[in-house]
């Protein structure tokens, strides 16, 4: 049985690869987007974008870039979940929905267990702006600083101000609570803030990191970012060593140019600048973010994720249907995920190779 469809109708794999090559080669400025792929898949996709003189973007670039904008404009303090697990005597959870972004978070950080290094003590856990009812962790007494999403930037700013001994204009009770939290942060031996950029914006991450910088004047404090979905961090790393830049990079001029606005996938499609797209979402089958745009679309996703329109080629799920390298949240490093349910499906890299094999010879390699 073929795993490819065209406008919802089954076609042979060979025809699908042929058609995909035709679409991409005919385009003036094709977009390779989604990029929800393992490292080998991302490498193939980025090389393809370069060969076609197109652009590439990742489906969670917004989140990766929220952290990266802070890195490249101000800098960042980070650690690994392992180091937080063994050493963090204070954990500052920032923003709502952390368990949604990283389901294993509390178990991995062993918040209910004593620290191992730097002294054996129970951990203090403070959560700024959790969702209602979210701040419950088995065996852990969680102190909360309530804040709605709208209030969170102001509360973070006020907390940073109090850490630095600067005045805030808040009611006495709220100020007292913040002062207590600020004191706790300052008296931590090795404090760790945990956040997900998916739930914050760049300015909030910068506010948090600014506070961490100030805390390091007298003690040790650092952070654990929760990376974006679809191997966003792994693709970011791969893109960096291949091109020097993160995703949202284009090759139109024959060399890599990075611009977070110009090469944003939805903008390229909706403005008409991109005239064909290869959408890769091998982990989840997530659909493209753009709407009502009729450009030729090729989708690589897991079986069952075919869109109604356009060309679809099923690929395996990385680390599930085939052995794959990805960035692991639990280790903050690249790891090999062995296939838990091997399947007779092409990998992302294989699908791209099969498409590329159909290009006519006048395209440079």
């Amino acid at each position: 049985m073929s795993n490819a469809t065209l406008d919802g109708k089954s076609i042979s794999s060979e025809d699908a690869y042929e058609k995909a090559a035709e679409i991409l080669q005919a385009a003036n400025f094709p977009l390779v987007a989604g990029l929800g792929a393992d490292v080998a898949g991302a490498q193939a996709a980025i090389l393809l974008a370069e060969r076609l003189r197109g652009a590439f973007d990742h489906l969670a670039s917004r989140d990766s870039l929220a952290d990266l904008e802070v890195v490249r404009s101000a800098g960042i303090f980070v650690t690994t979940p392992n180091e937080a697990r063994v050493r963090a005597d204070l954990v500052l959870l920032v923003g709502p929905g952390l368990t949604g972004y990283w389901p294993a978070i509390f178990d991995r950080l062993a918040l209910d267990k004593e620290t191992v290094h730097g002294g054996k003590t129970a951990r203090r856990v403070i959560w700024v702006g959790p969702k209602r009812g979210e701040a419950k962790i088995d065996g852990v007494e969680v102190e909360t600083i309530p804040a709605t999403e709208a209030e969170l930037p102001g509360v973070l700013a006020a907390l940073r101000a109090r850490v630095g001994g600067r005045p805030v204009a808040l009611p006495a009770a709220a100020a007292k609570k913040l002062d207590a939290a600020a004191e706790a942060l300052k008296s931590a031996r090795f404090g760790v803030a945990v956040w997900s950029a998916a739930g914050l914006d760049s300015l909030m991450v910068e506010m948090l990191q600014g506070m961490i910088t100030e805390l390091n004047a007298t003690t040790r404090f650092t952070g654990v970012p929760i990376g974006g979905r679809g191997n966003a961090t792994g693709v970011l790393q791969t893109s960096a060593w291949m091109t020097g830049f993160p995703p949202r990079t284009g090759f139109g001029r024959g060399y890599p140019e990075h611009d977070t606005w110009r090469f944003e996938a939805s903008r390229l499609v909706e403005s008409g600048e991109a005239d064909a797209a290869l959408w890769i979402s091998a982990y989840s089958g997530e659909a493209p973010p753009w709407e009502d745009v009729d450009i030729p679309l090729i989708t690589l996703g897991p079986p069952g994720s075919a869109p109604k329109h356009g060309l679809f080629i099923a690929v395996g799920k990385p680390g599930e249907n085939y052995d794959a390298v990805e960035f692991a949240q639990e280790t903050s490093s690249m790891v090999l995920r062995r296939a838990s349910a091997p399947a007779e499906l092409p990998t992302v890299a294989e699908a791209i190779a099969a498409i590329s094999a159909k290009f006519s010879e006048d395209l440079p390699c």
Binding site: V39, A40, Q43, L47, E50, R51, L68, V71, R72, S73, A74, G75, I76, F77, V78, T79, T80, N82, E83, R85, V86, R87, R108, A110, V116, H117, G118, R189, F190, N216, T219, R220, T222, L236, Q237, T238, A240, W241, M242, T243, G244, F245, P246, G254, Y255, P256, E257, H258, D323, V325, A328, E330, T331, S333, M334, V335, L336, R338, P364, C365
Partner: protein, 544 residues
Amino acid sequence: MLTRLYGGHVVDPVNGVDGVGDLYFEDGRIVAPPEGRSADVEHDVSGHIVMAGAIDIHSHIAGGGVNTARLLLPEAHRAHRPRPANTPLSTAGWSTFETGRLYAQMGYTTVIEPAVSPHHALHAHLELADIPIIDKGFLTVLGNEDFLLSAFRDGATQDSVVDYIGATLEATRAIGVKCVNAGGVDAFKQNIRHFSLDDVVPEYGLSSREIFQTLQRAVNATKIRHPLHLHMNNLGLPGNVETALATIDSSQGLPLHLAHVQFYAYGTEGKNGFSSAAARFAEKINANKNVTVDVGQVMFADIVTISSDVMKQFNSLPGGRPKKGVIFDGDSNGLGVVPYSYRVSDFFNAVQWAAGLELFLLCDDPMQVFFTTDHPNGAPFTTYPEVFALLMSADKRAQYCSRLPADVLELTNLPALKREYSFYEIATMTRAAPRKLYGFEDRGQLGAGSVADIAVYKPQPDKAAMFRSAAYVFKDGNLVVRDGKVSHYTKGRTLRVRPEYDRKINSRLDKYYDGLYGLPRSLFEVQDAALPNADAFAEVPCRS
């Protein structure tokens, strides 16, 4: 296919060759002049200098630190030219691809990345696999991890430490062991901001001296060829030559490599309390033949410092140029990435520049002193040709000195040093000596049986131009560079060591990982299935 390079001036210190002669190679190896056969391909290299491919013993070219620097500094590596057909990513600035291309064009054919944390080994291998043409390898970083420090504290036998090192080299596929600010990286996590040779790591009760010495003995006992590669305490600080001298005094008569020593050649003289102490340092190096050093020369350029010495990097943050940086407290390890700009008008930078050259010129034996800029910490590797030219010309150094702040010249001996390196000494420093330091049996020389990694340069008055653009480079016998431009891309090998060790350590380590991290140790091992080119590894033999 038999190839002959004829008429060139062959400079091959390992074989004592320094004169005009022919060189033959076939099937990727250098062969003795064959009798009764003529070559299939001949290159007239008369008037050229012929050397083995150069070997860089310490250059940060791959891994999490380098990649973090790329992401930190998008402004530093814009490309400006469209790429030619048939060379994917050939115009990407500061990419894996560019790294291989630029090294090859200078006649370098082997480069060692000196600092990869064991838990980030896979990432480094993925990058190395992507670097074309050159062979490469990395040192893995030990000496700040709880497993080892606990073992030292608890008086573990040397055999068990040897087993641990063997298992780590196996899991990471590294070529040797580096130690960075022994104990200081762990101490920084415990909020200690300065850490010297006799300071003690809390929790373990071990001084930096004890840690590096015990590790040095254990590395020696593994029989891997490369000695412990040590990044000492107090990097960059005024007066730190005392630390360096004391470290050499503590080197136990065993092989020890000291990394980027220019950054430790500082005294406290003068009104700024900062001076070159290179003369004292060089004297000590000359007197201790068990010690090798690489210089870590500074050049006046915009750079980025990438170091596992996270304590030092944290302390450098306020002086960053521009002022930003990444401070990473890694698993039993660390990393700091801080941009910087060395300026000829800056008193401190000028002293650093002069101190590095003094070390080059005052260390007598080019087998003992290695050519590095600690890329990119002291200067990008692309400045090597200019540094070679400085070593080969006292006049060129005088030209540079005329641009330095006047008070700098009073605090260095550089203007008085008239030594000029010969091609033979340059080849010793960049070919013969690295061959010995890493125990390579198949490279660093042009004798029969060696890999046909060959660099051919066209002599010219401008030595920097000569070394910048090799006339020919052969990698494994393939012509890869012609007239300073890559003409053919190949895939290089990754070099690793596999010392003998007792596999019983593995179950202990598995238990340790499970207990401390609640994760399988295999998650951190480099496995064939993770690599695009698992067959690209080549093993460097251990001592028998």
